[in-house]
């Protein structure tokens, strides 16, 4: 081992990473392999969709929070309007997030969606409408998470930029003011 190399950053939250990948992988694997073992569409449907729903919940509530410090949800305010809320850690903590963790988070999210898309294309080619239903449900759950987290990340960046420009403006103002009072 090269002693001058900095130590490679390990996963900061291996358990969370495991769960993040586990349900996605299980849903995909079950769907693909089930054709070999089960003849019943109902079982395939229910188990796959259940695993996909569990994965959706885990990503949204647990791994999003822990691996990338983001969270999104929808609320209905007092006026009866639907409001999407985004929440993120402050910029320091975001910068301090483990790079491997967030890399894993985003890439598995994208890869899973791409995998379901490919499987969907296969089902479409074979004119299997009922399997297309399963794929459609799983794909929409994945895409919902991707969209939610992407919006959350953009919102966090925007907030930080706003805050940074505000800070610069206020500091500039106070500097100018103190300069004038000294003069």
């Amino acid at each position: 081992m090269d002693p001058s190399q900095p130590p490679v950053e390990n996963y900061a939250n291996p358990n969370t990473c495991l769960f993040h990948v586990l349900f996605k992988g299980a849903a995909l694997a079950f769907y693909i392999l089930s054709a070999l073992f089960f003849n019943s569409f109902v079982i395939i449907f229910v188990v796959t969709v259940l695993l996909a729903a569990l994965d959706f919940w885990v990503v949204k509530n647990v791994s999003g929070r822990i691996l990338v410090g983001l969270r999104w949800w929808n609320e209905i305010n007092d006026l009866g309007e639907s409001v999407w809320k985004f929440e993120s850690l402050d910029q320091e903590s975001l910068a301090r997030m483990n790079k491997k963790d967030s890399w894993l988070f985003w890439w598995t999210l994208y890869l899973a969606a791409a995998a379901w898309l490919i499987i969907g294309v296969f089902s479409l080619i074979r004119f299997q409408a009922d399997y297309l239903l399963v794929v459609g449900v799983c794909l929409s759950l994945n895409v919902a998470n991707i969209i939610g987290f992407t919006k959350c990340k953009k919102d966090a960046k925007k907030q930080f930029q706003q805050f940074a420009s505000q800070t610069i403006a206020s500091r500039f103002q106070s500097t100018v003011q103190s300069a004038f009072t000294l003069v």
Binding site: N13, N15, T16, F19, S40, F41, V42, F45, V46, V49, L50, A53, W57, N61, V62, R65, I66, G69, R71, W73, N74, E75, I76, N77, D78, L79, G80, E81, S82, V83, W84, K85, F86, E87, S88, L89, D90, Q91, E92, S93, A129, D130, L133, K151, D155, A156, K158, Q159, F160, Q162, F163, Q166, T167, S170, R171
Partner: protein, 274 residues
């Protein structure tokens, strides 16, 4: 979870965050009294960098409890979100919890209790039905998901042939039906939120679920018809105030009739399965 009982329903999403942060901050407990609809986040969560404050607080060292006396920053009231369909705020929350199991279990319990409370609101008689908009304030799609899958499974189990197709048809019919019914209300100029309506229509399937289970257990045709009629009436009664409140009074029938029609068709499915 006990303090969630005292929080009004429309805040339970907010209480999600509060719970997680309470757990993360250990002893820094913010009681239910501090979870207000006006939502002043910074005093309750000591680690939040507020965009109006000049300094970014690192969220790792917890602030002393005296931070609860700091007045709420003006930048983050929900009033900002009036009139906009997509509002966004940034609130930093505390460092992630050390153990994964504890908060996950609490999140699960919270979601389950939300399902139960939504079910009680929609399907059973209670005073909140007078104000439909407020009742399903924190909609969730887990309940409807379980009910639709359960109904599909029950129908599929009762069927002696073509089980897979029965399940697929039931699921697709219910899911697509809920979406189309919601679009119907929206196109009639009604004011309803898409997911809220999906959630409502899903929860109203609960009586039909019960009916389907009874019909599965007893195979008498007369009994089936009676059971289905009763549960059908119950489902329609459950859906009525929410749907009718959403549209113009002159168009109430136009909005309600398709809902009733869908439940009738599901009822026929239940009776006709052998």
């Amino acid at each position: 979870m006990s303090h969630n009982d005292t929080i009004p329903l429309y805040q339970s999403s907010q209480s999600d965050i509060d719970e997680i942060e309470n757990m993360m901050n250990g002893g820094l407990q913010s009681g239910p009294g501090t979870v207000l609809p006006a939502r002043p986040p910074s005093p309750i969560r000591p680690s939040i960098p507020v965009s109006s404050s000049p300094f970014v607080q690192s969220n790792l060292p917890p602030l002393p409890p005296s931070s609860s006396s700091v007045p709420a920053p003006p930048s983050l009231p929900p009033a900002v979100n009036f009139g906009s369909s997509e509002g966004s705020k940034t609130i930093g929350f505390g460092s992630p919890p050390n153990t994964l199991t504890e908060p996950v279990w609490d999140t699960v319990k919270r979601d389950l209790s939300r399902i139960v409370s939504n079910l009680k609101l929609v399907v059973f008689p209670n005073p909140n039905r007078e104000d439909p908009g407020k009742a399903l304030r924190d909609w969730d799609l887990w309940g409807p998901f379980f009910f639709i899958v359960f109904l599909g499974l029950t129908l599929s189990w009762s069927a002696s042939v073509k089980k897979s197709e029965v399940f697929a048809v039931a699921f697709a019919l219910l899911a697509a039906g809920a979406v189309i019914l919601t679009l119907n209300v929206l196109l009639l100029g009604g004011h309803i939120i898409f997911f809220q309506s999906l959630s409502l229509l899903g929860y109203c399937l609960f009586p039909l679920d019960v009916g389907a289970v009874i019909c599965m257990l007893k195979d008498n045709v007369i009994l089936k018809m009676i059971v289905v009629t009763v549960t059908l009436a119950w489902s329609s009664w459950a859906a009525y105030p929410f749907m009718s409140a959403a549209v113009n009074p002159r168009r109430k029938a136009l909005a309600l009739y398709p809902v009733f029609l869908m439940y009738v068709s599901v009822g026929f499915l239940i009776i006709a399965i052998d």
